[in-house]
Symmetry: C2
Subunit: 285 residues, 2 copies
């Protein structure tokens, strides 16, 4: 049995708990909050469910103890840097860290890699939504006059997105002014953005999200090879499940002595799955 501990107990931490409890090959060995003591962990692997910016420091601290980690660090431009920072720490302590293990980055990354292998020339468009953008929601919330906000990402195709920003105003704030501030914000200035005033942002709360990925490419010298991947999912539930599946892969890689830091495209997909190799190959391949 794989002993998995959870660090951070928000939406994602709770989803990891459910995924672990649904896995026959794992037991939940602890749930830790932000400021808990995380020395001498009784765990094979820790799922890091803190805000993404806190992931690198926690990952390093835990990897140093020789305990595997898995996270859904999602700042795309810094994933490779995180890998380079964590890899020597994990290698030195004989552990494995799997990073950027969610759906994007994460399972979508695997699909992008596979489509590139299948049709090396061409363009892949990843269209997100409809669903809440965490980054844009935080940006909208920080605008003066906004009491609460929600920014929905709407896919318009070819990687172009519309932002639908729902705002609840602070007493005395004027909508036109708030709208102007949001439209000028760098997070929104480059996309088609609509700001709408609502009486309650909480009433719109919904963790549904989606992806539509499209590739038209060339296999060998043959053009017009067409691929499409779609998901409509509960966002924290999928992220939590992918974290748990990648926790399994981390422990497997450690068992093989392949210490270090991996993104999902560097892991054999079968390592994410429980059960007998023969049964998996006979049923999936």
């Amino acid at each position: 049995m794989i002993k998995l501990a959870i660090l951070g107990y928000g939406n994602i931490g709770k989803a990891v708990e459910q995924a672990v409890k649904s896995s026959d090959d794992m037991i939940l060995s602890g749930i830790f909050h932000h400021n808990d003591n995380i020395e001498n962990l009784d765990a094979d692997v820790v799922a890091l469910c803190t805000p993404t910016r806190e992931v690198p420091a926690f990952a390093e601290k835990i990897a140093r103890q020789g305990v595997c980690t898995v996270d859904s660090f999602d700042i795309h431009g810094r994933i490779y840097d995180l890998k380079k920072a964590l890899a020597p720490v994990a290698a030195a302590s004989s552990s494995v860290s799997v990073i950027a293990a969610g759906w994007d980055p994460g399972s979508d990354s695997v699909v992008r890699a596979l489509l590139l292998a299948a049709a090396p020339k061409g363009v892949t468009y990843t269209n997100f939504g409809p669903g809440r953008s965490m980054g844009h929601t935080v940006a909208a919330k920080s605008v003066a006059g906004v009491k609460d906000a929600l920014s929905m990402t709407i896919p318009l195709g070819t990687g172009i997105h519309r932002r639908m920003v729902y705002v609840e105003l602070e007493a005395g704030a004027e909508f036109q002014e708030v709208e102007k501030r949001i439209l000028c914000d760098d997070y929104f200035a480059h996309d088609e953005t609509h700001v709408l005033q609502v009486p309650s942002v909480e009433a719109l709360n919904n963790v549904a999200h989606g992806v539509n990925m499209v590739r038209s490419g060339v296999s060998g010298t043959t053009h017009n090879q067409r691929f499409e991947f779609n998901m409509q999912i509960d966002n924290p539930a999928l992220t939590g499940q992918v974290l748990v599946s990648c926790a399994r892969a981390a422990v497997r890689l450690r068992g093989e002595g392949r210490f270090g830091c991996y993104t999902m495209i560097e892991i054999p997909p079968i390592y994410m799955l429980p059960g007998d190799e023969e049964r998996l190959i006979r049923t999936l391949v």
Copy 2:
């Protein structure tokens, strides 16, 4: 540069040739036909493009020389057996064989594995076509009175398929009789099958094919997680490209000393791709 040789020069062999010539990290080191001498091969890897039933013997013969192999062996029920037979041969000669490397089995298998990791409970339906079924076409061609035949697979959803069988009759054959024989054949008796007489089967020739894969599953305890993967592709071009991408993976695995036999779900997707690891991770993850 990876030296790749082709064994078998039909549709797939020609597609492999095009994919190799389109790859900056490979050179084509030879094209061999069925009865050519394949001792002392000047190649890192041989792409086996023979009929599928001849793959196991050729793979073993080449692996014994310490040369990697890649094939698109497609008899689903025997893939694991082929792995078990080839693995010790490859291990003993310090080579790597990648098997069942096409699109189904192949890239579809990777998607199936990924969706199982993302939502472990549920059903995945793989719907094939519209496109020509090789097995059913061969079965129809072997029926008495048939001069030429083409069996198209039409997806009806939930893994149920219709067979559209186009037949050109031999002189003197009677259509009703031929139709009856086809409908009784074990290849066709279990599916909705329509037999149509045409003046020329050659006039219908088209290597287009497709897949529609659908999964509704459970992540953790959250139901209604929905995934869909679609392709509309030139069949030999995609198979040839996947073979070449997996040839790259075979050579990479050999370079790491990980000798043996692998299906695509046992390979890190990044190993199928050329170029710098940092660039790939920064652009794909």
